[in-house]
Amino acid sequence: MSALLEVRDLRTAFPSASGLLPVVDGVSFDLNRGEVLALVGESGSGKSMSALSTMRLVPKPGRVTEGSVRLDGTELLSLPVTDMRKIRGGRMSMIFQEPMTCLNPVVRVGEQVIEAIQLHEDVSTADARERTRELFVEVGIPDPEARLDAHPHQLSGGLKQRVMIAMALSTRPEILIADEPTTALDVTVQAQILALLRDLQRNRNAAILLITHDLGIVNELADRVAVMYAGRLVEVADRRSLLSDPRHPYTQGLLRSIPALATPGEALPEIPGVVPSPDQWPAGCRFSTRCSKRIERCDTVFPHESSPGEGRRVWCHVEDGEGA
């Protein structure tokens, strides 16, 4: 059976004085039904732009320049705008780091969810309101009846996040794209939202494309993980393999530099240098300028994909045995 969402050779770029600057540069992955796939990377890796590209929500003047995004076999990149609008917020919906990016500050939160439901379905306001109330219960909003009439500013950060999740779920999406959904929250509230997302995914069998920089959140929520660096994938693996046996030097470096795992009294293992900006991407492996295992070949030749095990993909000359 084919994947629910198939992304192939996706390329997204922004115009600049020196021509089109790529931010996503040939990314391919599958999102299966009911699974949580985490796209992981640091700032500038292209993880958010990859997710926005699948929804055709790349902010202007950026645009998808190449590739294919198929939802259940239907190509989204060439779909008429009106059809795409039905899919967005319908079969696919999105939650963001900052709930106020999708909540209107002057409209009561209940009304906003009711409106989202009625945009996609022909239901009476009374029925939509009842469904909104049920959604508020499902996402754990205490005293839901009263909260329907609250304005966003009357709610805490955690509650606003729950309202946004309720809105995203209101049209029973098959795919939920969650872009750093807990990054702005306090750690105790983050734990609550992670548990909520886990429950929702199980109960609704929805697929989640989770965008995060935090490997702890990956462990809490993901089934599979795709690690990005400078616009490209560097490694794809199931959660357990990635965390216990990372193969790409970048993934290894990321895991080692987490301060909680440091040996007391010893310096934290660093990844030297900084993520290069798109106009400074090396010709070969994008990570070659910072990699401790770099060999000559890495400077000039982009590593092709190899599979070190069932369901695993890695892009590295050294891992591929060429460094031995």
């Binding site: 640091e42 950060g157 983050q190 462990n219 965390l243 301060p259 934290l268």
Partner: protein, 334 residues
């Protein structure tokens, strides 16, 4: 109020904060009448030994940044003492305070907001030196700027550039160089690594620790991120709604947290151990408003071990082996 000091006998703490209270008035109406207070910090006390790091941790609204800013008198505390090198900073006049500020520097979360975008970085680093009379002339100060940049692992040749020409991590290095320029004894780091990517964060944490070892600096490290604390801090103070609820040596806090809030905070950190996931959230609900904190123990609305007494009576900060905890359970009165 101070608690057990971990300072070895015979050593004065570099900084001793006691009974610190900073409340902000909430004003309303045409006459700007005070209708209430944001109780940002109440009865806060701790000590920092020379060459050591105290981490002040807590969630948003707990008052940790207010405490940092109060120490530098960027806020105006109503009560308390901030004794630094034997002098109470809160009672100094402007001239004396200015001198003291040479010895206490602050590094913020967002370097772009604390650097002047229109000034070359060499001038920003040298500015403080000039006002405190460090370096005899322009040439000597330039040499010092160069060596400071090298020390924070930036290319001294880049001193004529402007802040926007650097990455976020590099800009934070510039802020650290600027703080070091005036030879401080204490640096308040207010979420200084929170906005950085993990690989860059590791670089800055290592740099801060090297500088501490070399120069004998003390840090007040303010953060919401407990995983960073373990690497850097000798002592930890946990704040909740304006009060310190627990403090003690880092090892003890992580291995045997006494206060239910500290326990919850630690349990809420997502683990990267693939065998550990899917636990239920350890602390429910949201942090209440600091302008109207719950009666009794401020944490009782979210505590999973709440007793009747906690709703009515505020628990005192009770000393325990290796620190203190503001909980009836810690005083054996549970």
């Amino acid at each position: 109020m101070t608690t057990t000091s971990e300072t070895p006998a015979g050593f004065e703490p570099l900084l001793r904060v006691s009974g610190l209270r900073t409340w902000y008035a909430i004003r309303q109406g045409l006459l700007r009448k005070t209708v209430g207070h944001v109780q940002a910090a109440t009865d806060v006390g701790f000590e920092i030994a020379p060459g050591e790091t105290l981490a002040l941790v807590g969630e948003s609204g707990c008052g940790k940044s207010t405490v940092g800013r109060s120490i530098l008198r960027l806020e105006s505390p109503q009560e308390g003492e901030v004794v630094f090198e034997g002098k109470d900073l809160l009672s100094l006049d402007e001239a004396a305070l200015r001198l003291a500020r040479q010895r206490v520097q602050i590094v913020f979360q967002d370097p772009m907001a604390s650097l002047d975008p229109r000034m070359r970085i060499r001038d920003q680093i040298a500015e403080g030196m000039q006002s405190f009379g460090i370096g005899a002339d322009e040439k000597e100060r330039t040499e010092r700027v160069a060596s400071l940049l090298a020390r924070v692992q930036l290319d001294p040749a880049a001193m004529d550039r402007y802040p926007h020409e650097f990455s976020g991590g590099q800009r934070q290095r510039i802020c650290i160089a600027r703080a070091l320029a005036v030879e401080p004894r204490l640096i308040v780091c207010d979420e200084s690594v929170s906005a950085l990517d993990v690989s860059i964060q590791a670089q800055i944490l290592n740099l801060l620790r090297e500088l501490q070892d070399e120069l004998g600096l003390s840090y007040l490290f303010i953060t919401h991120d407990l995983s960073v604390v373990k690497y850097l801090a000798h002592q930890v103070a946990v704040m909740y709604l304006g009060e310190i609820v627990e403090q003690g040596p880092t090892d003890r806090i992580f291995e045997a947290p006494a206060h239910p809030y500290t326990q919850g905070l630690l349990a809420a950190i997502p683990s990267i151990d693939p065998d550990r996931r899917g636990g239920s959230p350890p602390v429910l609900g949201d942090v209440p408003s600091p302008s109207d904190p719950p009666a009794g123990c401020h944490f009782h609305t979210r505590c999973n071990r709440v007793m009747d007494r906690c709703r009515a009576e505020a628990p005192p900060l009770v000393p325990l082996e290796g620190g203190a905890s503001r909980c009836f359970l810690s005083s054996g009165e549970g």
